[in-house]
């Protein structure tokens, strides 16, 4: 009895700690007052203001665009890197390649951002490219740190999957390319999808690397939000948080229903 009590105590306090701040933020998003902490009454006023705020809307589109592009490119490169690490024995300077595809995971983002900024400044001095910092430089930076994450996921999936199946296909006369397309790709598809989603979120969430590599006219959503909340509170950001939460919860509930039905079928 005592043990069960302790279990629920831990879980209840754990989930209150995780959810209370977010829920409070959502609650305040309905506050009519301009001063965030003074409750004046329930209203959707700040949601209206949010959708009229050109700066936030534009940053939102920029962020989605960069995140989708960077996730796609990072997935392509990451799948190649993960596949090479797990399946290709002969790689020139193999340990250097391993270093390159894992080091971004342990590199503090502030150092990554600084190094890329200095890189772009240097290439601009030498070759005039990139002509200015903006969406393209942020995109390159995001691809660079996402590749490592995708590569790790793909490599883990490939090393847990039985190589004999690929070899069997080859013995039966399948060409290397068709082994990849007909056997390997379908098996690692879930890993490819989760790699893409992870890369997408990493890009959407990134503030530090984007602040270093962005230029005029290419503010991402985190950059705009950060500039708004750095010195104080912003009712529009509260409304934005609530919308993002609603979005994440919808996806999570959909996912939960899906896995619940699956486990029902398995029974």
């Amino acid at each position: 009895m005592n043990k069960v009590f302790f279990k629920y105590l831990v879980l209840i306090f754990g989930f209150i700690f995780l959810y209370f701040p977010i829920l409070a933020l959502i609650g305040y998003s309905f506050n009519d007052s301009k001063r965030v902490m003074v409750w004046k009454g329930f209203s959707f006023r700040w949601y209206g203001e949010l959708f009229k705020n050109e700066q936030i809307l534009e940053a939102f589109y920029t962020s989605i665009e960069i995140a989708a592009l960077s996730a796609t490119f990072a997935t392509i490169l990451g799948v190649m890197a993960g596949f090479s690490l797990a399946r290709i024995a002969k790689i020139p300077f193999r340990s250097f390649f391993i270093f390159l595809s894992t080091a971004p995971l342990v590199m503090p983002e502030i150092i990554l951002g600084l190094s890329l900024l200095l890189f772009f400044v240097t290439t601009n001095n030498l070759f005039g490219l990139p002509s200015s910092k903006g969406q393209l430089t942020v995109l390159i930076a995001h691809i660079t740190f996402s590749v490592a994450f995708v590569a790790v996921i793909i490599q883990a999936r490939l090393s847990s999957f039985d190589k004999n199946i690929e070899e069997a296909a080859q013995d039966l006369g399948a060409k290397p390319n068709s082994v990849i397309w007909k056997i390997t790709t379908p098996v690692i598809m879930p890993a490819i999808i989760s790699g893409w989603l992870l890369a997408f979120t990493l890009s959407l969430d990134d503030l530090v690397v984007a602040s270093f590599t962005t230029g005029p006219g290419a503010n991402t959503l985190p950059i705009v939000v950060f500039s708004k909340v750095r010195l104080g509170l912003s009712p529009e950001v509260n409304a934005l948080s609530a919308i993002i939460m609603l979005f994440v919860v919808t996806i999570a509930v959909g996912y939960y229903i899906k896995i619940r039905n699956k486990s029902d079928v398995n029974k």
């Binding site: 831990v10 995780l18 595809s101 342990v106 503090p108 001095n125 909340v229 993002i244 996912y255």
Partner: protein, 313 residues
């Protein structure tokens, strides 16, 4: 070593020879990208960290320059930037502050996260999936907004102060923000899912019959925990701790939003040296020493740990 390089060159020739082969493109596309946008930028930081600072754009001297008066090449390499950041306790202290922040918050995340991961992993499958979804939701919510949420709670006229005043527990609002405790709180809050999820991943695979067996043999629950459960969850503990510790050392956003002037942190130091003081060589030297003292020990540790793990299997 030299022989190794030769065989590497042969591998390159072999691969280029078969460049119609998909393997060539699979290896070289990410290889090329990472050398260009990860390795070369690090080399540039190293180069600038060895340069002499000066006014102008870019604000440092070239490493090699042609001296027009004498017609000879001048070499402007200096270690003074490193000497400066190591002799000035201001910089070194910020590095120590970041390490201690990362250590404290990793420990707190472990203490809070372990029981949660443990009980979620031990729940019945149906409710376990629900708990798991509840754990993942904050993980997918914007990191920046979760830090900002604490700003709303901890403000002088924030929610926690309002509640305490309405309950007549305090008369004056407590000042809970802009010190290093609020930074620790913010870090623990945002990084807790990174600790719980890998721990859960290990604990859920854990064979519960081991606990029953030890119980049947008359071992007390506490002893079972320390002798059986904890040692077996060490891989999960290490994975979770890494995911918290590493990014927190370079953390810039949380101290900037919730921290005050009582403690300076490493990430903020680099940011200020670069953007405020515009001293690129010092900022680069700070970044390089961060890599030397943080990223390299961690990679060595991971390699050693992997080898150790393989030996034990």
């Amino acid at each position: 070593m030299l022989l190794g390089s030769w065989s590497n060159l042969f591998t390159i020739v072999e691969m280029i020879d078969g460049f119609k082969n998909f393997k060539f493109w699979y290896v070289f596309s990410p290889y090329f990208w990472l050398v260009l946008f990860f390795f070369i930028p690090l080399a540039i930081i190293l180069k600038i960290s060895l340069s002499v600072s000066e006014w102008g754009m870019p604000p440092y001297k070239k490493l090699f320059s042609l001296n027009e008066a004498t017609g000879s090449f001048d070499l402007n390499i200096t270690f003074s930037n490193y000497a400066f950041i190591f002799s000035d306790s201001y910089y070194f202290q910020s590095y120590l502050n970041s390490i201690s922040l990362a250590f404290t918050s990793t420990l707190i995340c472990l203490i809070i996260g372990y029981p949660i991961a443990f009980y979620v992993a031990k729940s019945k499958p149906k409710i376990r999936n629900l708990f798991l979804v509840l754990l993942v939701i904050p993980f997918w919510t914007s990191f920046l907004l979760r830090v900002y949420a604490w700003k709303v709670l901890l403000q002088g006229n924030g929610l926690i102060n309002n509640i305490l005043i309405n309950l007549n527990l305090i008369d004056e609002p407590l000042s809970m923000m802009y010190n290093h405790y609020s930074v620790i709180l913010g870090v623990v809050y945002t990084y807790l899912p990174f600790m719980i999820l890998p721990l859960y991943g290990f604990l859920v695979k854990f064979d519960l019959r081991l606990i029953e067996a030890s119980h049947d043999l008359g071992v007390r629950p506490i002893k079972t925990f320390f002798k059986i459960i904890l040692p077996l969850s060490i891989p999960g503990i290490i994975a979770g701790s890494m995911l918290v510790f590493i990014p927190v050392v370079g953390e810039f956003v949380i101290p900037e939003l919730l921290g005050g002037s009582d403690k300076l942190y490493f990430g903020k130091m680099i940011f200020d040296e670069f953007f405020v003081n515009r001293d690129w060589p010092i900022a680069s030297a700070l970044a390089m020493s961060g890599i030397l003292f943080l990223a390299i020990p961690i990679m060595v540790f991971q390699l050693a740990y992997q080898k150790y793990g393989l030996k034990n299997e």
